[in-house]
Amino acid sequence: MIECKNISKIYQSGDESVAAVKNACFKIEDGEFVAIMGPSGSGKSTLMHILGALDVPTSGEYFLDGKNVSELSDDELADIRKNKIGFVFQSFNLLLRATVLRNVALPLVYANVPEEEREKKARESLKNAGLDESHFFHLSNQLSGGQMQRVAIARALVNNPSLILADEPTGNLDTKTGEIVLESFQKLNKEQHRTIIIITHEREVAEHTDRIIHLRDGEIVEDLKITK
């Protein structure tokens, strides 16, 4: 469960201070599928960094599974990311010279999972992300964009995180492939009750989720459940 209490992030540039996020307050329950939407410069990336424990807020408190993440050290944040969060990036961020299986197993290396278990978990995770087994030993740069993003999703899943954060996951994909990727997210949410947050500026993408948090100029202007 995610709880944000009055989160603000203020960047100082010279004498001027710019608030990227202002007093954001919201809760996301386990198993929710949420989009954080807004035009570029609305502060959605900053918010994602805070939710993903990549950064801490200037003020306010952020609780992840009851733990206050807003005051942790760098190494403690790394532990949170390792154990609780799976990232999916717009540009996939795969290790190009490594095989699909190795890419997916990489988080397990840092989590000190024994080598024998890694491959088993990685295979399972890839099946959940919908990648065909024939690609498992390909190098990641031999894959198509859609396949790459599914590898990235599998990598985000492999540690069994409480939260999957996807930053513009369809931004580098054509509409059709984007659709397939979004469907995999939906499936993970419905079938495995994963908590998923998608950050996007496109309404069509946001509409695949169950709830849209709309940001503009750092403030939440709308928080709306979608009924289908």
Binding site: A78, R81, F87, F89
Partner: protein
């Protein structure tokens, strides 16, 4: 992150950039290789000089007529025929100093020597049979001087191999029994010495030995000695023996002030030591020059690692996003740098050893690759990895995950 994973990551990262990794390693290979080769050549030269000096006789003290003026400066041998050392001095040394094992007299001068149709100018040493044991003179053919030769003032000569070659040609059959003329006096050849090689100071093969009595009577015309060679019972007694000989001779020559001694005394250990110290200094100098290339190689490592960190910024960001701590990142890059230098070190040790072996094979100089220099080179290459890898690794670890993920 476990060690096995770390090594696997390192291997994959280095293999991904084979050409660059290879060139960077080459810098270390050249550095370590030249240090190993230089030290091997230096140490080989030192030990070959030492063994050559030792081959002139062990535990040797030489007393020469003529004072020593300042360190290392020997009085000219023009006065070296000075009438100072006598056979009585030699007998006194032998009888009165218990540390002395044996003594041999020496008179020496250069003469024109002729055989049938050939001639050469060489050193002629008049001495006794004891000389051969003291100075390690070995006989290849015939005999060395015998006691009866001394007693009878026989005109017999023992030739060094170079003299024989000069007078009779390299392919001459046995020359024993043939005659040569020294200063126009006829001598019969009774022996040829074994080849010793050039010791760097004087050539022990370009020499003729004749009986002392004969030399004093027919060539020099007086009964003085130019040198007394003394063998001491063991290495540890050298200094004490030297002091005893000095004071004995001073009192025999009625000299109270030791700085005014009319003879000089040389301890073989001192010669070995000073010769070794010269070659050791040269070794250090050579190794230091080679060490500079090692530093340059290290800078190459740092340069490559900095490039790598920049290139792999996004990868660093990803690793951080999936839970890598600062220490995980810095360790990874440090191990990469160390792996480069250690591989370079191992290959460098091999090539250094190879270069040393080739130098030995080509007879340029003897070489000796000591285990210590190998261990040292290996350690140094690992340390270079740490020193020059530390800054790039630190830089990588400090990168902020958000900025690295955004990096294009």
């Amino acid at each position: 992150m476990k060690a096995s994973d770390l090594l696997k990551e390192t291997y994959l990262a280095l293999v991904a950039n084979k050409a660059r990794s290879g060139l960077t390693v080459l810098g270390i290979v050249i550095g370590i290789g030249s240090v190993i080769a230089m030290v091997a050549i230096g140490q080989g030269a030192t030990s070959s000089i030492q063994s050559k000096i030792q081959s002139l006789g062990s535990n040797l003290i030489s007393v020469r007529s003529g004072a020593q003026r300042g360190p290392g400066y020997q009085i000219s041998s023009g006065r070296g025929s000075a009438q100072i050392l006598t056979e009585d001095d030699m007998k006194a040394i032998q009888n009165e100093i218990s540390l002395v094992q044996s003594v041999a007299p020496e008179v020496s001068s250069r003469y024109q020597v002729t055989a049938k149709g050939t001639n050469t100018n060489t050193q002629v040493v008049g001495t006794n049979p004891s000389y051969s044991t003291i100075k390690n003179v070995e006989i290849a053919e015939g005999t060395f001087l015998l006691d009866q030769n001394i007693k009878n003032m026989s005109k017999v000569a023992v030739l060094g191999p170079s003299v024989r070659d000069d007078l009779f040609g390299e392919n001459a059959a046995s020359v024993i029994g043939k005659t040569i003329r020294i200063n126009n006096i006829e001598f019969k050849i009774i022996g040829i010495t074994k080849e010793k090689g050039d010791s760097g100071m004087n050539n022990q093969d370009d020499i003729i030995y004749i009986p002392l009595s004969t030399a004093q009577r027919f060539l020099i015309g007086n009964s003085y000695l130019s040198t007394i060679d003394i063998q001491i019972i063991d290495q540890d007694s050298m200094t004490l023996a030297q002091e005893q000989i000095t004071s004995l001779l001073l009192s025999r020559h009625d000299i109270s002030d030791s700085t005014k001694a009319d003879f000089s005394i040389m301890n073989q250990a001192d010669i070995v030591e000073s010769a070794s110290s010269i070659t050791q200094t040269l070794t250090i100098l050579l190794a230091a020059i080679a060490g500079i290339s090692l530093v340059v190689g290290g800078i190459g490592i740092m340069n490559m690692m900095l490039t790598t960190v920049t290139e792999r910024t996004r990868e660093i960001g990803l690793r951080k996003a999936i839970g890598a701590k600062r220490s995980d990142i810095s360790t990874q890059f440090l191990v990469e740098a160390m792996m480069l230098t250690i591989i370079g070190g191992i290959v460098g040790i091999f090539f250094g050893w190879l270069a040393a072996a080739i130098v030995s094979k080509l007879d340029i100089t003897a070489t000796k690759v000591s285990p210590l220099s190998v261990i040292l080179a290996f350690g140094v290459s690992a340390i270079i990895g740490i020193v020059f890898g530390y800054y790039p690794a630190k830089k990588a670890a400090k990168l902020h995950p958000i900025e690295t993920l955004r990096y294009e």
